[in-house]
Amino acid sequence: MTAASITCTDLTIRFPVYGADAKSLKKALARAVSVGGALGRHAGVTDVTALEGVNLKLQAGDRLGLIGHNGSGKTTLLRALSGAYEPDDGSIEVNGRIASLLDLGLGIDPSATGYENIRLRCRIAGLSSKQIDARMDEIAEFTGLGPFLSMPVKTYSAGMKGRMAFAAATAVDCDVLLMDEWIAVGDADFQKIAHKRLLKLVERAGILVLATHEAPLLKLYCNKVMKLEGGVASEIVDIRKLDQLLKT
């Protein structure tokens, strides 16, 4: 039994938005010279508060659905949970191995072969070369691409690419699974087996955090739901109260 858990306390994340202007050294120098001081140096850098005071407590067995309009902070929260964004205030604590399936295209090199890409993706995910060797057959079989795996990925169709990326990304063991939209790739047949594989992964993982706009998906996979609005989170409620939450 895994003792996976996620705790966020008063999590606040602010983005400094460096305009196209601010990235030029000339502008920065000009500002430093003509204005000077702390105020001058901060000119042109706008802070956007992406998450504000989010409190979150999840334990093994929790499947949290994140809802909210575009730009409400869902992806930011997922990235913060994956460890990429650090809080400006508050804290995030995650127990357990994290797998973030935020972007299937992560680390894909189109000129490399399918095998090489699977290997690279698994290395990034934290598997050792030995572990990858041990799993390669299973991953290769799952993609159903057979001899095509020895060809460069750029020769693949979008669907084939999706199959390859999906198989590699889901070959991990994890306790906490982060997903931005439920992943659906490939044709109807593949979607069926992909669905099963993903469900198995979710079952093995203690915690799932899934951001999506689709209510049916939420009802299917999640047992809890949280709504984000302009970076402010609602309380976590039972999935049966989803309709109520959607109306507010």
Binding site: L25, S82, I92, S111, R123, S128
Partner: protein, 277 residues
């Protein structure tokens, strides 16, 4: 994704805390040093994919350049070929590794933005990726170095252990310069252009293609050029010459001070770097 099973991120500030977090990044990057190797190998392999000679294009193009410049300058300056050709070959090879590391340092974080913005991989992993990639290039160039030293009979007098110390000092210094370039380039997109110009200028100002003895009474300018010391520490032992003691003082001091300052900058900007990209 993290292999560790516990992750704690807080909004705590303060110089000490930031320094500890930067140290942790460094530690994690060493723990997963194999990943940096894999990425570096992948970079080299994918650059030469589909070409017949593969990575040996690195060797071939370098060999052609060395021969061309060697023969031309030897006759222009009226220098004996057996002295000048190995001299220039070693100069170009080792200066090239230094330039490559620093120039590619600029793209270190920018190219890794995808991975940095959705995983908790240590940032310094990508610095080691750049350094390793250039080490792999150097390994291909070593063919030329060995050929030159053997052909012109420098093998007996070459001081290999001392040359290795020189390579180590060069890597230590090039890697902090690369990290500094990486941080600055992530924030300001003009930096790569500046770095390329400076390194181009440096290759002509440093005795790569010419002998320092020709410099006459302007020797003092050589001592002020850090690249001169970096290059001498590797090249001189291989050619059976001695390295001036003060070169080592300069190099060690530069490595320590450079890493200290750059690491402080890294500690201060680390949290923000992902937002720069």
């Amino acid at each position: 994704m993290e292999t560790a099973t516990h992750m704690l991120r807080t909004g705590q500030r303060g110089a000490l805390f930031q320094f500890q977090m930067a140290l942790r990044d460094l530690r994690n990057s060493f723990q997963r040093i194999g990943l940096a190797w894999s990425l570096a190998w992948h970079d080299v392999a994918s650059r030469y994919r589909g070409s017949v000679l593969g990575p040996f294009w690195i060797t071939l193009s370098m060999g052609l350049m060395v021969l061309g410049i060697g023969f031309l300058y030897a006759s222009l300056f009226d220098l004996p070929l057996n002295e000048f050709l190995p001299y220039v070959a070693l100069g170009i090879v080792f200066f090239g590794v230094m330039t490559g590391t620093i120039n590619e340092g600029c793209e270190t974080f920018v190219l890794a933005s995808g991975m940095l913005s959705q995983t908790s991989l240590p940032m310094l992993t990508f610095l080691w990726r750049t350094v390793f990639r250039n080490l792999i290039n150097l390994a291909h160039h070593l063919v030329i170095v060995v050929a030159m030293l053997t052909f012109y009979g420098y093998w007996q007098t070459a001081n290999l252990p001392l040359a290795l110390v020189g390579v180590l000092l060069m890597l230590l210094n090039a890697s902090w310069l690369a990290l500094l370039a990486a941080i600055a380039s992530a924030r300001y997109r003009d930096i790569p252009q500046i770095v390329v110009s400076v390194m181009q200028f440096a290759i002509f100002m440093t005795p790569v293609f010419w002998m320092p003895s020709r410099f006459g009474k302007h020797q003092v300018f050589l001592d002020l050029n850090p690249f001169y010391h970096l290059l001498q520490a590797v090249r001189a032992p291989l050619l059976g010459q001695s390295v001036q003691a003060h070169s080592y003082v300069v190099l060690v001091a530069m490595a320590l001070l450079g890493w200290l300052v750059t690491f402080m900058i890294f500690a201060r900007t680390r949290r923000r770097l992902v937002h720069y990209l």
